[in-house]
Symmetry: D2
Subunit: 93 residues, 4 copies
């Protein structure tokens, strides 16, 4: 399995778990559980989503750099602007 | 329908939509879509989760205050410490 | 010293410290220190600012509730909308 | 002026402005201004700090890639791990 697809497999596993966590939160609200406990779970899922984003970003940066080193025609400035914009969205969300 | 259950109904609808968005992200990664597009979706879901948390917090604060005004034996300091701790977790996540 | 002014004194002390931290970051950039070290400092100041915000919010919530219990003409819904909007800004920033 | 020092100059200007904003918040608290207005200012400074961090990160990524392309002995994996750790701290703060 290549490094990219290994990374993807890890991302998919985590997304599956996050989907289950969201369903758990739905059930908690449905059963009128304590608001504070629901908020704790929402914070946990938010953190889990951020970790998935960082994992993807790490894989993407490595891929960008490898491509740039193999192929001089890649416009690295454009790639980096794209990556920076994605980081900015994550930091601000 | 009481104010509390109206709020809960709105929260449940949003959680259902978020669950669908997570499944959408899973499919995007599975089909090897552009990393940048996946990250944009993750930022959107993170924002949606934060909105759910704020909606719940608003309902909870209103309930706390109503209870405190109806019943003088409620320990308001304890309630407020709980709420502040939940806000802190949200701000830091 | 009243509870409000005690809280304010704590906030002022922290803000003074944060001002010093910003000056420290300025000096680090000026002296071309490692980018990674500067970013670590910026993360620390961001966290410190969030803690100040949460400290202020806690004091404000306590004040709101005390006022509402003393004076029935206070429009609690309006107050809570204001507080929720402030929390939303903090969570999203 | 090189690209790096241009970036640094922009960072320094922003940090100077942020220092002034922190002093402004200090004065607001000292003069007992509305809590909600202070919180709005704190959110604004937090956003300004995040923008500085992203500006620095952008400069750093560009530098890393340029160095890697000029010098094959640079350990790119190590650099990327460092950058990812810094991004993770920013996203979580």
């Amino acid at each position: 399995m290549s490094e990219v697809s290994e990374n993807n497999a890890a991302v998919l596993t985590r997304l599956r778990r996050i989907e289950g966590q969201i369903r758990g939160i739905h059930r908690m609200v449905d059963e009128d559980e304590q608001c504070m406990d629901v908020l704790t779970q929402i914070s946990a899922v938010t953190k889990a989503l951020q970790s998935v984003a960082i994992l993807m970003l790490e894989g993407h940066l490595a891929e960008c750099v490898t491509n740039a080193m193999d192929d001089n025609t890649v416009d690295m400035n454009e790639k980096l602007s794209e990556v920076t914009a994605a980081i900015a969205r994550l930091v601000r969300s």
